[in-house]
Amino acid sequence: MSDGPRIRFLLGSLALQNLGRRKARTLLLLAAVAVCSGAIFTGAVLMHSIETSMAVGFTRLGADMLVIPAGTLTNITAALLTAEPTDLTLDASELPRLERLKGVRRAAPQLIFRTDASGYGRGGELIDLIAFDPDRDITVQPWLEQHLGRPLREGDVIVGGRRDEPLGTELLLFGRPLTVYGKLGKTAVGTHERGLFISFATLDELRDVMRQVCGMKAPLEPNKLSGVLLELAPGATTQQVRFAALANFPGIKIVSGESMLTSIRQGLAALLNGVLGLMVIMFVSTALMVSVLFSAIITERRRELGLLKAIGARRGQIIGVLLTEAVLATAFGGLMGCVLGVLLMRVYEHSLVYYLDRMGIPFVWLNTATTGLIALACIVLASLIGVAGALYPAWQASRREPYDLIRSEG
């Protein structure tokens, strides 16, 4: 038969008041559970935030491989975003064949032209003008932080993250006005951050005047590319595509970023597994601590439990009183831990975001709903710690005879 509401209330208040009777011990229990659940809450929120940030970062990093003319020197980090500005070029007619290689999902051509004669900036500023194909692009548009509320079109220019031109203003390049369509976020790659990005169609418009100003240079010839950024199909490996490309296209060089990304991913996974392992250890050790504490609490209250049994309390009711007490304490400890975790993250928010930003990773905090769910899960977990810790001592106490409990009181 189930207990009535009044007896549940009385047994519940017994549990609550027992916590109040030993304030110092209760506070220590709350503090221990708060530290455990606070660490789990903070760890879980940060892990999810870092995972999300890295996922966003890796997605925006763009290409898996870069195809460039043999002999071109490359910076591996920059190579995954843009080709290097050199006079060496690839023929654009190779693009469809590259795109058809097994394992290639997308091939994004780029042409990069470094010049100090564009008339842009103050006193012959050296700029990187990067032409890309908006339909195939994988490394420019994902970094767009601000842009006009319309698609990119001919005559538009996108400025790098370190440029200050407001959107919609005109920018003179080789004497031709271009509209600032958008601005990229900071990538920590110099070429990308200081570059000016235009479509191949816009480049075609500028090509004649560029030749007049800069002279006939290889990159300014029609149908020339500085490099092709490749995105691999799911399941394809860089080795597979590398061998296929080198076999079919003599005079090219392949740059792959996979090893770098893989090592970052593997490092992150190891770190997250380590954090998860620490959380499990904290959970188990706190549950053991609660168990030891409740064994002591039960020893101290044997007479009260014996009395309850003597006047008719059933085993389930004895277990219920003790578990209620444990759950009340540990759930409140869990709540305190979450509050502490939020405060701690507020304190370290600026430095954490700053360091990740310096690494070129845009830190993305979890949304409030998900954070709330994690907090709720931590409170439930803390309550489970209480149940796990108190269950065995409570079960043991419930099995003992009332007279044994009453007379063994010290």
Partner: protein, 222 residues
């Protein structure tokens, strides 16, 4: 009403087994007020615990109102204790964090579902009978030792048990309060025709009961 058949209690200790009660046969008819007397360690409290369903006999049987209480399952025994047996212990046995009225109503609420309003009504009535009407909302610590003991007796009676067991119920009380408590027991025994068994080492108190059972070294003494 109550019959014990060859009840024996052996405690296992680090220094070997100790036989506290050695095959006692005892019958107490309905409505009798009996005292079990003996020196400390004679086995009288162990016998009372076995009679009350608090401690399982090593051997022997205990029947209360024809029920072999130690043949009942754990839950059945808990319910039997709750409904048919009242206890008055030697120690201050009120729960300090509950009000007086809650302490008295607690046995009525713990057992098989009963109406809360009725349980509290009976608890209030008993407290009034015991001269504690103005203390229903007080906490045990706010009462004197004698008042606390009266609350304990009220709690023991709230389920109208057939058997009331008292283990040294006045050992920590002054002579006047002791007399008052004994008078309560006699009144309950007389007015409710309730069977009452009291363990005491005080022969003067035992003399006030209907029957005195002597125990020595775990056996009934002549």
């Amino acid at each position: 009403m109550l019959s014990c058949g060859a009840v024996t209690k052996v405690y296992s200790t680090e220094r070997g087994d100790v036989e506290a009660v050695r095959g006692i046969d005892l019958a107490v008819p309905r409505g009798q007020f009996a005292a079990i007397v003996g020196r400390s360690g004679s086995g009288k409290s162990s016998l009372l615990a076995m009679i009350g369903g608090l401690s399982r006999p090593t051997r022997g049987t205990v029947r209360v109102e024809e029920t072999d209480i130690w043949a009942l399952p754990d839950r059945g025994l808990a319910d039997f204790r709750n409904r048919r047996i009242g206890f008055v212990f030697q120690f201050a046995s009120l729960l300090p964090t509950l009000r007086v009225i809650d302490n008295v109503a607690l046995p009525a609420l713990l057992g098989p579902a009963r109406d809360t309003r009725r349980a509290y009504g009976e608890a209030a009535e008993l407290l009034a009978q015991f001269g504690l009407a103005e203390h229903v909302d007080a906490y045990p610590a706010e009462l004197s030792a004698g008042e606390q003991r009266r609350v304990v007796i009220a709690r023991a009676l709230v389920n109208a048990p057939a058997l009331l067991l008292a283990d040294e119920p006045t050992s920590d009380l002054d002579e006047e309060t002791e007399g008052e408590i004994m008078e309560r027991f006699r009144t309950v025994n007389r007015e409710r025709a309730m069977t009452l068994i009291m363990v005491t080492h005080n022969l003067r108190l035992a003399a006030q009961t209907d029957r005195v059972v002597h125990i020595a070294d775990g056996r009934l003494a002549a």
